[in-house]
């Protein structure tokens, strides 16, 4: 069971990595902000799976913080973007 969970975590991390490759490169600013969101969902899934695979319930708290702070950083990025739009006008 633990091996299966590790494998699932590996798959999710691989998906996040692939997504990051595409997003961090992407020309639109929105793409880079999406990288934070991708980590918010994918990273949370990976952490929850790890929490079960490693029998480490503390990792669920890390997932909680990850979800919260990914949202916070995304909003900070959107704000920074809006300010730059305003500067240009």
């Amino acid at each position: 069971m633990a091996d299966f969970m590790f494998a699932a975590t590996g798959l999710v991390v691989a998906m996040v990595a692939l997504g990051l490759v595409r997003l961090l490169r992407g020309p639109a600013a929105a793409d880079r902000i999406m990288a934070a969101q991708l980590l918010g969902t994918g990273g949370t899934a990976a952490l929850l799976l790890l929490a079960d695979a490693m029998r480490a319930p503390g990792a669920v708290d890390v997932a909680l913080i990850l979800a919260l702070l990914a949202a916070f950083v995304s909003v900070a990025f959107v704000n920074a973007l809006d300010r730059s739009e305003l500067d240009r006008k």
Binding site: A8, V16, G19, L23, M34, L48, V78
Partner: protein, 97 residues
């Protein structure tokens, strides 16, 4: 009984991983930022939901299960609202008259 629970967990987590795969394929292949955002928000959140479902079967008691559901709800909430904000940077809404 635990064999049944393990089987259900494996099934749900596999389905969740499949949706993560689908979401990433969408991210890689869709032509413009808004459709990529769509793939990210919908598919990945559904994948997370299925993963949480699978982990619920393995949960050690009610508080742990409630916490897992709490994490999922928070991610869903944050994701739904923040993706709206991100979409607005791509295509701003009509300015107020």
């Amino acid at each position: 009984m635990s064999l049944v629970l393990d089987g259900l967990s494996i099934l749900a987590v596999c389905a969740g991983a499949f949706f993560f795969l689908a979401g990433t394929v969408g991210l890689l292949r869709f032509p413009d930022p808004l459709s990529r955002l769509h793939a990210l928000a919908k598919a990945d959140n559904l994948g997370l939901g299925l993963v949480v479902l699978g982990l619920l079967f393995q949960a050690a008691g009610l508080p742990a299960a409630l916490k897992l559901i709490g994490v999922w709800l928070l991610t869903l909430l944050a994701g739904a609202t923040v993706t709206q904000l991100i979409a607005r940077t791509v295509r701003p809404t009509e300015p107020q008259a």
